[in-house]
């Protein structure tokens, strides 16, 4: 039995942040119904999100929206609205990621839904919260990375470098799922509904909670190293280094011990622990030079037995061929209603020793509208 079996989630959200929360709830066992506008649907089906088209729609849409149903409704049409009302009355969770004010105009805001469904758990994701000078700005990942200081942490010292994924979107979705689940826990004990709100802004600072706290403490901005930067706040050797045949990562390890193990005499003068931080550019340059003299395998065979934290650097191709990856069973095959099959990843959480997989692919736009209408008419949904 999956934890959220018998729960109905009505999801008005689009793109990545909200729908990624919906996906997590679906994998945990909930029935998730996407409310999509006729003809176009979730904008993520077609626009700007990847140039890989699978079965007519963006690969990204298929990744985010598997294991869900699709119900089309024009939220400005009275009949359609009535149908959606029937659904939200029965919902355990309702969620959206419209800009502040839109759901109020459409009539599906928390107060209105609570009036007919008092113990509903209602979730919303905004870009920047519901107050302050940025509240009407577009909640887009790169802009959030840019505004919250995140672009000064990755890559080497120099200009801003974004993290190469929509990480704030995903994190906001993750936090929304946490809040919804916490309130479902409370509801399962006390029967109370709740409003859960997150924003990409708050999520972006939460991601950087250590760095922000450090800034408050010493007022210093993050300083990336000139080369081999992996973390602006950590000393040498922390970084990724080129070897004779590839790359390796070196996390922690005392410099004198590394000097000995790697037979790198140039590192011997750095005997003080504090030097590993204050002279990290020098130390990294010496290491970078030295590590190119032999292969990754050869270095790892010296360092790993000595319990130095290090690893090879892989791309997806080498990773997926590795037994260590295969042992995780991280890839699953799913199938759409029309028979189209594709591979994707599964939920990263295991419950009672079981993988939370589902063979259900993403829905074609509106594919479940007929069935759901019938359920509504017969009073099931």
């Amino acid at each position: 039995m999956k934890p959220l079996e018998d729960y109905l989630v009505v999801d008005f959200s689009q793109f990545l942040s909200g729908p990624s929360a919906g996906l997590r709830l679906a994998d945990l066992g909930a029935r998730v119904v996407k409310i999509e506008r006729p003809e176009t649907g979730d904008i993520c089906r077609h626009l700007y999100t990847s140039n890989v088209i699978m079965n007519g729609e963006s690969s990204v849409f298929h990744a985010i929206n598997r294991n869900k149903e699709s119900f089309t409704a024009d939220l400005k049409n009275e009949t359609d609205k009535q149908h959606v009302w029937e659904l939200v009355k029965k919902a355990d969770v309702v969620m959206h990621n419209y800009r502040p004010g839109v759901m109020e105009r459409l009539g599906f805001d928390y107060e209105s839904i609570k009036a007919v469904n008092p113990d509903v758990i209602y979730g919303e994701i905004s870009g920047y919260g519901d107050t302050g000078p940025w509240k009407d700005k577009p909640g887009q990942d790169l802009l959030l990375q840019s505004l919250t200081g995140l672009t000064w942490l990755s890559g080497n010292n120099g200009g801003p470098v974004p993290m190469g994924l929509s990480i704030i979107d995903m994190l906001a979705g993750t936090h929304l799922a946490q809040g919804l689940l916490a309130c479902l826990v409370r509801r399962s004990i006390k029967g109370e509904g709740a409003l859960v709100q997150v924003s990409m802004l708050e999520s972006a600072y939460d991601l950087q909670f250590e760095a922000v706290t450090t800034y408050y403490y010493d007022g210093l901005l993050p300083q990336r190293t000139e080369k081999n930067n992996a973390h602006a706040y950590l000393g040498a050797p922390y970084g990724i280094y080129k070897t004779a045949n590839g790359y390796m990562a070196l996390a922690m390890g005392s410099i004198p011990q590394l000097a000995q193990l790697l037979k790198c005499d140039a590192l011997l003068p750095y005997t003080e622990v504090a030097q590993a931080f204050h002279q990290r550019d020098e130390i990294k340059a010496i290491l970078a030079d030295h590590l190119q003299s032999d292969t990754t395998e050869s270095w790892l065979s010296i360092l790993q037995p000595a319990d130095i934290w290090c690893a090879e650097v892989m791309n997806w191709e080498t990773l997926m061929q590795h037994e260590g990856f295969k042992a995780l069973n991280m890839i699953q095959q799913v199938q759409m209603q029309d028979g189209y099959q594709y591979q994707t990843t599964r939920c990263p959480i295991r419950i009672d020793g079981e993988l939370l997989t589902s063979s259900k692919g993403s829905p074609a736009l509106g594919q479940d509208t007929g069935n759901i209408l019938q359920e509504i008419r017969s009073g099931v949904a």
């Binding site: 985010i64 887009q140 790169l142 890559g155 974004p162 995903m170 210093l220």
Partner: protein, 384 residues
């Protein structure tokens, strides 16, 4: 306010980052989180520093991750201490640990045994790489996990080599997934009245972080990500103009949008790139053209042109600018916790708001064993 997890008791045997960040979230959501630590020294994370900063005897990092918790000192190898811990487990809702495989079995606090002490426990385990396979015994460290997972080929430019995300994202995502799993397990328990086992790993979490792009990889003939050659490139799978550009005085971020509208607004001729496909295929060329143009005006001048047209763009802020910005203050993200000497430490709050409430707590991280006595009394651990 009554927080959603009020009344729940969480025992945290976890150390370092992933497990304890989960504990922090549960605490902020209202749970009573008690760290079980070895006497005097406490958990190993107290010694892990960034910039070598210590506060009140423990690292600043530890304070950031472990505020709003209590600490119970126990030597799990001492039979009397272990007996008290077992009595505590019998009254808890959740326990978490990130010991390597076999350690809890040796102590006698493995899942099988704990179920006999508390048949309704949620038992959460964090590992680096799962409990099977050739990597299971490797150290579960963030940079190593990023390096194995393919994540380092997504950031920066195509000639930059592997570039990690400059934060412990594997730890952070894993901690976040751990919270989700534990909460889902509590929901399940409230139906079945039975214990639930929750397992997460850093590697699975950082693969999940890449779910969109890995799905694309699995279905595009398994091509590897192609990062742009342009400095400031934003995303290997997104078309022009996505990225950060130099301006006459600073930088400007341009997100996705209709390229022709953007070209018109910037007065750059992009008529050669008629189809959306070309925005992907000739991405680097287009970015070059935009970059040349964007260098000619200041960031403020560009924003004044682009923002009224609803083109998605932004200036680039540092912490010095962002954390003092009115928008940051309006959301009340900063909070202070009170240390044992009454000094205050500033940090961030929980990013989730419940019933219009921002979740604050002034409680700082405990010193090792700070609440041992009171917990002994409240849970009746020393009595017969």
């Amino acid at each position: 306010m009554v927080k959603p997890l009020d009344g729940l008791v969480v025992l945290e045997f976890s150390q370092f980052m992933a497990g304890p960040t989960a504990g922090l979230r549960l605490a902020d959501l209202g749970a009573r989180v008690i760290k079980i630590e070895r006497p005097v020294k406490g958990e190993a994370g107290r010694q892990i520093t960034i910039r070598n900063i210590f506060v009140d005897g423990s690292s600043l990092v530890f304070h950031t991750i472990n505020r709003n918790k209590e600490s119970y000192a126990a030597d799990l190898k001492d039979p009397e201490d272990l007996e008290r811990v077992k009595k505590l487990i019998a009254q808890a809702d959740v326990m978490t640990h990130n010991f390597r495989p076999g350690v809890m079995e040796k102590i006698g606090l493995d899942y099988q045994t704990v179920q006999t002490i508390n048949p309704r426990i949620i038992y959460g385990v964090v590992t680096g790489y799962g409990s099977e396979g050739p990597w299971a015994a490797r150290p579960g460290q963030d940079l190593l996990i990023q390096s194995l997972s393919g994540l380092t080929y997504l950031t920066d430019t195509h000639d930059a080599g592997p570039v990690p995300f400059g934060l412990a994202v594997a730890d952070i995502m894993c901690g976040a997934h751990f919270v989700q799993g534990i909460l889902a397990a509590l929901i399940k328990r409230n139906k079945t009245q039975k214990s639930v086992l929750v397992e997460v790993s850093l590697l699975e979490s950082v693969l999940d972080l890449q779910f969109e792009v890995i799905t694309t990889h699995l279905n595009d003939g398994r091509k590897l990500p192609q990062r742009s050659k342009n400095k400031g490139a934003g995303h290997a799978y997104l078309s022009a103009p996505y990225g950060i550009y130099r301006t006459a005085d600073a930088y400007l971020a341009l997100a996705m949008g209709n390229l022709h509208k953007i070209g018109e607004a910037l007065d750059v001729d992009l008529s050669d790139y008629g189809s959306r496909e070309s925005w992907f295929e000739q991405r680097d060329e287009i970015i070059d053209k935009l970059a040349l143009r964007l260098e000619t005006k200041t960031t403020a001048e560009w924003l004044a042109i682009l923002e009224p047209l609803d083109i998605w763009c932004s200036e680039i802020l540092t912490y010095a600018q962002s954390l003092h910005h009115e928008a940051f203050a309006a959301m009340g993200v900063k909070q202070n916790v009170v240390l044992s000497d009454n000094q205050e430490l500033s940090t961030t709050r929980c990013p989730i708001r419940i019933d219009h409430n921002r979740l604050y707590s002034p409680v700082a991280a405990p010193w090792p064993g700070q609440q041992t006595e009171i917990i002994n009394q409240q849970f009746n651990l020393t009595g017969a």
